[in-house]
């Protein structure tokens, strides 16, 4: 046994080359803040394993993708769990990459000499989001299908080369048969290969420059002295394995347990109907991590939209990539970098408020809105009763809520008669206002007076 071990050890260089890497010294103060990067890596590995497992059965063809995924979910032994791990693992990876990015930003880890470690990380963040997006289409349900239209329309607004870019994205002139296989190849081969390359680069750079020490107020990064300073720290440090790594292991295992538990007890989301371009009673929604973008595009002034669609990603990318070169020295600790705190606060606040809005989508008309509730129609007679029918027929109910039923696009009309006189209502209906269409050429005089009679009954007392 000993002979075999020493032969393998000699030929593979386990003790001489690999152990020194695994046990490389890290600063003593490495704490629980350092666990998110390794957990993101574990989430990625989980995605690779479950992704390969899904690919054993999934058929990336438009006429079979949906059915094969239904088969995986409903009939394959533990298929629902495997798909569930892949689904919740994707969320975990997006969250962990995000937290890791915020953590190293707040700790100023991107500063000298770890500028390129940060750059590789920014690229990994972009690749993670690309995986999340391309994965949506592979479900090949209505949500995934329409999300590609949305991206195409955004890309198409790039000046001059917008249309060629769209064609390259969707592999043709419209979202069709070739789009799925293109996204499959990207999701399964191209982007993962890039992720492997950049994780390799990222980890190599972490080893080359060492795990950063906890930032300390009053100890700014000075490139002339930093390496000597760091060298003294790790001379007095602890081996990464196992003294520091055990925290990574504990946290990653916790992430794994949560993901598997969600997969088992909650399960993957239902597929919302096979792709059918002619079945338009659909209500496309992005996965939750893109819900804030969805909300942004519904709420921002249309005049700004092109600047945000085109400038936003470019600007964010440039800022993130340029950051370590613009601010390579100086204080690392967040308490001495108020702008860093303000930026993260702004980011979290906007995403925190936009995400719930995106999930609720109050700006979307409710196309299949049901009838007005009995509490509204009860006791109505004559013209007002007719008006309630007109309210329904003309689509008013799709955008306006009355007694908790209807869309949220326009103002709640439960007590509209408190605010507006019949004459004012008539003008708004005929001429429209803001997002309210003008119904002038679209409604008879009788219908108009009926619907106004109906709305005049909507008083609070």
């Amino acid at each position: 046994m000993k002979g075999i071990w020493s032969m393998l050890d000699d030929r593979l260089g386990i003790s001489s080359a690999i152990m020194p890497i695994i046990t490389h010294p890290v600063p003593r103060d490495v704490n629980w803040w350092y666990v998110f990067g390794s957990a993101a890596l574990v989430a990625f590995i989980m995605q690779v394993i479950t992704g390969v497992a899904l690919a054993f059965i999934y058929v990336p063809a438009p006429n079979a993708a949906y059915d094969s995924l239904q088969f995986i979910t409903q009939q394959q032994v533990l298929g629902s769990v495997v798909r569930g791990i892949h689904y919740f693992g994707a969320s975990a990876m997006v969250i962990l990459v995000g937290i890791h990015g915020i953590q190293v930003f707040l700790m100023g880890v991107y500063k000298f000499p770890r500028e390129l470690t940060w750059v590789a990380g920014v690229i990994l963040l972009a690749l993670t989001l690309a995986m999340a997006f391309t994965g949506q289409l592979l479900r090949y349900d209505q949500d995934g299908y329409w999300s590609v239209f949305i991206l195409s329309e955004m890309v198409g607004r790039v000046p001059a080369i917008g249309w060629p870019l769209v064609q390259a994205l969707i592999a043709g002139q419209t979202v069709g048969g070739a789009t799925l296989t293109r996204f499959f190849a990207l999701h399964v081969f191209v982007i993962p290969a890039l992720i492997f390359i950049f994780i390799g680069t990222h980890l190599y750079l972490v080893l080359r420059h060492g795990v950063s020490e906890l930032p300390r107020a009053g100890v700014p990064v000075n490139p002339k002295t930093y390496r000597a300073y760091y060298h003294r720290l790790v001379e007095n440090g602890i081996p990464f394995w196992p003294d520091a790594a055990w925290k990574d292991v504990v946290f990653s295992c916790a992430v794994g347990v949560v993901v598997v538990a969600l997969a088992v007890f909650v399960g993957p989301p239902d597929l919302n109907g096979p792709v059918n371009p002619t079945q338009i009673n659909t209500d496309p929604r992005p996965d939750w991590y893109f819900a804030w973008i969805f909300a942004l595009f519904a709420l921002m002034p249309p005049g700004l939209e092109n600047y945000v669609i085109l400038g936003g990603p470019v600007l964010i990318g440039l800022i993130l990539l340029a950051l370590p070169f613009v601010a390579p020295y100086g204080e690392r600790v967040a308490s001495r970098r108020p702008w860093a705190i303000a930026f993260v606060g702004f980011l979290l606040l906007s995403m925190g408020t936009l995400t719930p809005l995106g999930l609720q989508a109050p700006w979307s008309p409710v196309i299949d809105v049901g009838p007005l509730p009995d509490s509204v129609t009860q006791g109505l007679t004559g013209s007002a009763a007719q008006g309630a029918v007109v309210f329904q027929d003309k689509g008013c109910h799709s955008c306006h809520m009355i007694d908790g039923s209807g869309g949220r696009r326009g103002p709640d009309l439960s007590y509209v008669a408190d605010r507006l006189t019949p004459a004012q209502m008539t003008i708004r209906i005929i001429a429209g206002r803001g997002n309210m269409p003008a119904f002038g050429g679209n409604i008879t005089d009788t219908q108009l007076s009926e619907v106004v009679d109906f709305l005049a009954t909507r008083k609070s007392r």
Partner: protein, 183 residues
């Protein structure tokens, strides 16, 4: 970024061994081999890369033809009504299944004239719904609304709905396929 020099402690002076003197002939041989190797790798890369790249950007090199598709006899459409119809994609693939088709809104305006709208909202491409009683197209994504002639009635869309060309031949309505419209 005032000083890009590596701090002295990372490269101890003892490690900076002087390079052995090269013979001029040896140096030029080395330079030649390096250059020829890089050139060969570049050539091999281009030989593999260019065909692959062209294969991937086929739609740029060979735009799909926009063809006339027969939708049915003119009289199968009622004047004044707007109906949902399927139309083959610009370039359908044999294995495309349902996505070999797109949807269009067809309205017979008068005896001999039709208006055909692409289904995609000009804001971000979601499928618009026709509400016949309200005479409006509603988009389920960001709340775009269009009048019956396709002009914007409300919400974020930047322009009217895209239209397909139509013609009538031998009593049949024909609609021309078109690429995805970009708002």
């Amino acid at each position: 970024m005032s000083d890009d020099q590596a701090p002295p402690e990372t490269i101890p002076p003892a490690d900076r061994a002087p390079a052995p003197p090269l013979l001029a002939e040896e140096a030029s041989r080395r330079g030649f081999f390096a250059r020829i190797s890089v050139a060969l790798m570049g050539l091999a890369g281009a030989a593999v890369g260019l065909p692959v790249l062209s294969y991937l950007v086929t739609p740029w090199l060979r735009p799909a033809p926009q063809e006339w598709t027969t939708m049915g006899p003119v009289d199968s459409f009622t004047v004044g009504q707007t109906v949902l119809k399927a139309i083959p994609d610009v370039s359908p693939l044999p294995w495309a299944g349902q996505v070999a088709e797109s949807a269009i809104w067809v309205r017979r305006d008068s005896d001999q004239t039709f208006t055909v709208f692409a289904i995609n909202c000009t804001h971000l491409g979601c499928p618009v719904n026709w509400r016949p009683d309200a005479n409006l197209f509603l988009c389920p994504c960001h709340g775009g609304v269009y009048y019956s002639d396709g002009t914007v009635a409300g919400g974020p869309p930047p322009r009217p709905l895209f239209q397909h060309e139509t013609r009538i031949q031998g009593g049949q309505l024909q609609v021309r396929t078109r690429p995805l419209g970009i708002g």
